[in-house]
Amino acid sequence: MTGPSRPSTDQGISFTFDGKHYHARKGDTLAAALLANGIGLVGRSFKYHRPRGIMTAGIEEPNALVTVGEAGRAEPNTRATDVFVYDGLVAKSQNRWPSLSFDLGALFGLAAPVFSAGFYYKTFFGSAKRWMFYEYFIRKAAGLGNAPRDVDPDRFSQRAAFCDVLVVGAGPAGIAAALEATEAGKRVILVEQDSIMGASLIRDPQALDSLWVEECAERIRAAGGHILTRTTASGYWEHNLVTLSQRLAEPGQVPSRGVAQRLWHVRANEVILATGSIERPMAFAHNDRPGIMLSQAARTYARRFGVLPGKRVVIATNNDDAYQTALALKASGAQIVAILDARPAPAGQAYGLPVCNDAIPFSTEGNRHCLKSVTAKVGGISKSWDADLLAVSGGFTPVIHLHMQSGGTLKWNDAAQAFVPDRSLQNVKTVGGAASPEPTFTLTPISPPKKSFIDFQNDVTLADVDLAWAEGYRSVEHLKRYTTLGMATDQGKTSNMAALSRLAEKQGVAIPEAGLTTFRPPYTPVTMGLLAGAGAKDAGAHKRRLALYDVHAAKNPIWQPLGYWFRPRAYPMAGESLAEAAMREARSVRTAVGMTDVSTLAKFEVSGPDGVTLLETACATSVGKLAVGRGRYTFMLREDGFVFDDGTVWRLDENRYLLTSSTGGADRMATHLSYVRNYLHPELRVSVVNVQEHHAGIAIAGPKAKSVLAKLIGEEPPRHMSTVAAKIADVAVLVLAASYSGERAFEIYVDARNAEPVWAHCETTVVAEGGCLYGLEAMEFLRIEKGHLVVGGEIDGRMSPQDLALDKMLNKAGGFIGAAGLSRPALSEVGRRQLVGLEAIEGSIPEGSMLVTADGQSPEGHVSASAFRIVNGGSIALGQLAGGFLRGGEELIATSPTRGQRARVRVVPPHFYDSAGERYRD
C-alpha cells in the first residue's frame, strides 16, 4: 500500500498490529482497518513464507491469517476479514521470524522445487534415519499461529433452539424468505455471519438499500422471528439439525457477560439456504502478491468501509460483475488503468472504461508490501500496466456446503461453470445466488504453472496439480490429500474449482466428470472451547458428588475420578504419600477395622411377583431359591456370553429384591435391566427402579467389623450374605453382610439425605476400635489380594464365565441373557485366556504389562491389576493368561517395554489371601 486511503476522521478505535498502534472506525473489520492504515503485507504463506496481503472481504480469506488477543484469549489463525476491530484489539502476524517484513522463513521459497506437492510423503522414502532427520524440521515448520498456553478465561455456551424455518444468510433472498415465513406465523430463525444484515446489499445497495433491510428486520422481530448476527451455520446434520456458531465477543475481546461464543443446536422443520456465492481468483504467475484482491472484495472495501485499496487499478475478469467494481473504485477516486476482460469484444465495451478484450493476466511484479505492475496477454500480445491494485474476478462458486452436508446432491451449471444444489434429502432448499450463480466465461490459465497459485493458504500451484497428475494421482480425493489443496482454515473455498478445472483438463474430461471433494463440517473454523461448551474447563462433564462429599472433603483426601464420580482415593496423614496412606488403611482393614464410602455402587430395587423371572433373565446365576433376608454374588452376561458386570442380589422381602452392581457399569446395567423389563418381558408384573443415588452406602470391614456393627445397631449383626433392617443414630438403615475386602464386612445403606449422622456415628465407633477410613486405593489392594474381580480390569468384555472360573455358578436352568452365546464353540477352545494369579519372583509386577515366556516372544496374556501383599509384603497380581488354569507354577516374564519395567513372575491361583473364605464367616 502506498499510504492511508481514507480520511482519518471519526477513527475512535485504536488497535495494534505487530506491536504498532493504529486507528480504526467502528464497524471496520481488521482487514479494512489495516488497508485504511496503508498496510498491505499482513501474513506469510504456509509453506514458502511468501508475502501475502488481503485477498477477500469475507470468511473465505486464505491469506490474511493473524493471531488476535492475548494470553488465554489469543485466537490464532483468525481471518483478518472476519474480526471486527474493537478498542484495544491486539493482532499479530504469524508464521514469520524475526519479523513479518523480514522473514527468514522466506528462504523456503528458494527451495520450492524440493517442497513441491507430496514432499512430506516423500520424506518417508528411504531409511528411517532420514525421516528422523527430517522430522524435527518438519515439526518446527508445520502450523501457522501458535495455540495459547494459558487457560481461556471466558465461557462458552451451548444452546438448543427449535423453529419452523431456519434461514441461513441475511442477504436479499434470505431476508425475503425469513420475512415471508415469519409473517405467515411460523417460528423463524434468521442467521447471518456478518455483524450486520444485508450481505450483497451492503456492497451493492442499488435496488434495495439499508432502509429496506432495517424495515424487514423490524418486521421479522415484530412477528416473533429471531435474528442472529455474527452467527455462522457451521454444520448440517441428520434430521434437519443445524449447528450455528455465534460470536458474542470478537476474538480476543473481553465478553460483556462472560460468554465469548455460543454453539446453537437448531432443529428446524425446514431450512432455507441463502448462502450466496464466493468469487473465484484467477491463476497466473505471481498472483499472490499483496495488492491482488478479489473484485467484489475491492468493491466492499470501497463502498462499505470507505477504504480505497488502490489508486491505480487493473481489473481482470471473465464476467460482468467486475465492472461494478470498476465503477465503484472510480467513483471513490481511483484510476482504472485497464480492465482485462477474457471475453471477446464487445463484452464490457458499454461501460466507457478502458477495456481490453481477449485479455488474460499473465504475471505481476511488486515487492513484499505492494503490487507494482501487471502484465497480460491481450489477443496473445504481452502488455503491461503500472498498478497498485489488481482486482480479479474468475467467476462465482455457490456456497453449497450446507446443502451437501445435508445429504443433497449437486448438478453442474455450465453457464456459471459451477456446481449448484440439485436434489435434497432433507427438508431444505437453496435460494438466491447459491442456487442461481451468474454466468461466466471459461478461462484457461496461460501462465507458467510454477508460481500460479490456486490454493493460497497451502501454497499449492498449478504445477503441483500437474505433478500430482504426473505421479499417478487421478482421483480428486487423492489429489487433495497429496497436494494438501483445499485443507486448512479456508477448506478450499477459493481453490476447489481451479483445481478441479485443472484436473479435468489433465483427464481430458468435463469438470463434473472429474469429481468433487466432500464438504464436511465445520463450514468455517470453530474454536475447541465452543465445542466443549460449559464443560470446557471441567473435561466436558459435571463432577458427580457423593452424598457425603463435604464430609470427605473436610478430611482433605486424595480424590480419584471414577467415571464422572469423584471418590476419596486415600486419606493421607501428615507426611504420608498415597502409597503409604493406602497401605496403612489396608492394613487397618486386615488387622482391625476400616470404613469406606460405597455410595456409588449401582443399586436397583426390583419389586413384584415376577421379580425372580426378571433377575434370572438379567443375571446368569439363580435367584429363585434365595430366602428372604439372604443375598448372593451374581454376574451378568452380554448376549454373546461374555461377562460384563457383577454384583450381589438380596431378597429383602417376599417380592422385593435389591440388586447391586459396579459403579462404572451403572448406566449400562440400567439399560440392561430396561431391555429385559421393557423389551424381552413387558408382560412381567415387576417394577425396576434405579436407586443408586437414593441410598448412600458405607462399608465397614475387618476382623472387628462385627463387633463395631453390633455396637452401632445394638443387636447381633447378620451372618455373611444376610441382611437386616436396623437403626444407626436413629436413622433407618439396611445392613448387608457382604465382603469385597476378604474380611468380615458389612454394607450399610441409608437414605442419602440422612447419611451424614450415620457416617459420623460409624466413624466414631470405628476409630474407637482402632480403625480408620480407607479409600479406593486400599480397596484395590484388598480386593486384588483376595482375588475379587473388578469390572474394567479382569471383567474386560472378553472373558467368559469359564475364563473367570465362574461357570459353576451359572444358572443350570438357563434362560438368562447370554446363555445361548455360551454354547458357541469358540468359548470352549483350548488356549483361551483365563484368570490367574501372579506372584513376583524378582522385581515388582508392572500393571498392564505383557506376559511372555521369554524376551522377544509373543505375549500370552497380560496383567490386569497388581498390588503388594498387605501384611506379608511381596508383589502380586491378577492376570489373564492363555490356558492359564493349567499353567500353575510356570515362570513367566511380565514386561512393559514402553515403561522399561519387567518382573519375573510365577503363575499361582488368583487368591492370595484366605482362599477358603474363612475370615468372613462367623
Partner: protein, 162 residues
C-alpha cells in the same frame, strides 16, 4: 437481560409409582382415592398433598404424602422410595424457558409446554425431569450427585441469557 432465579428447594418425599397390571382399575381406584386422575404422558396432576408426574409409560414420579398409594396399587404395582437421590430445583422468573435451552435438547420454549406439562430430558449431559408450575416457574428434579454442578451451570448461564 432475561430474568430467572435458580433456587435449591428443601428435600421432599419422592416415589416411583409403577403399575404393571390392570391399569384401568388402578386408575379408577386412584381417582376415587385422590380426587384427581392419573396424569397422562407428558403431564402432571395433583393437589397440595400429592402430585404425580408421568415420566415413563407405566411409571409416575409421586411427590408428597404417599400414604394412600400402596393400597391403590394393591397387587398391580409397586411404590419405591427415590427421594434420597433427587434434588428439587425451582427456576422462577420469565427466563426459565430460555435457561432450559442452555445445554438442552428439549423445546422448553414451545408454547404448548405450559403449566401442568412435564418432560424428562437431558440438560448439559444430566438427566432431568421438568414440571411446569406456571408461566413464571418450572420445577426441575435433578440427580443428587449432579445437583451442585447443574445448579452452578444454571446460575452461571442465567447471567448471560438474552
Amino acid at each position: 437481560m432475561t430474568d430467572v432465579t435458580v433456587s435449591n428447594l428443601p428435600s421432599a418425599p419422592l416415589w416411583a409409582f409403577e403399575i404393571w397390571s390392570n391399569p384401568d382399575a388402578v386408575a379408577a381406584r386412584f381417582a376415587a382415592a385422590t380426587g384427581f386422575a392419573l396424569p397422562k404422558m407428558g403431564t402432571s396432576g395433583g393437589n397440595d398433598a400429592l402430585r404425580l408426574i408421568r415420566y415413563e409409560p407405566t411409571v409416575w414420579l409421586a411427590e408428597g404424602d404417599a400414604t394412600p398409594l400402596p393400597s391403590i396399587l394393591d397387587t398391580d404395582g409397586a411404590l419405591t422410595a427415590i427421594g434420597g437421590g433427587v434434588t428439587r430445583v425451582l427456576l422462577s422468573g420469565g427466563g426459565w424457558r430460555r435457561l432450559l435451552m442452555e445445554g438442552g435438547v428439549f423445546d422448553a420454549e414451545c408454547p404448548t409446554f405450559a403449566a401442568g406439562s412435564s418432560a424428562a430430558t437431558i440438560i448439559d449431559h444430566v438427566n432431568i425431569r421438568l414440571h411446569v408450575l406456571n408461566e413464571d416457574a418450572c420445577l426441575a428434579y435433578v440427580p443428587l450427585s449432579y445437583a451442585e454442578g447443574i445448579i452452578h451451570f444454571w446460575q452461571e448461564a442465567a447471567t448471560a441469557l438474552d
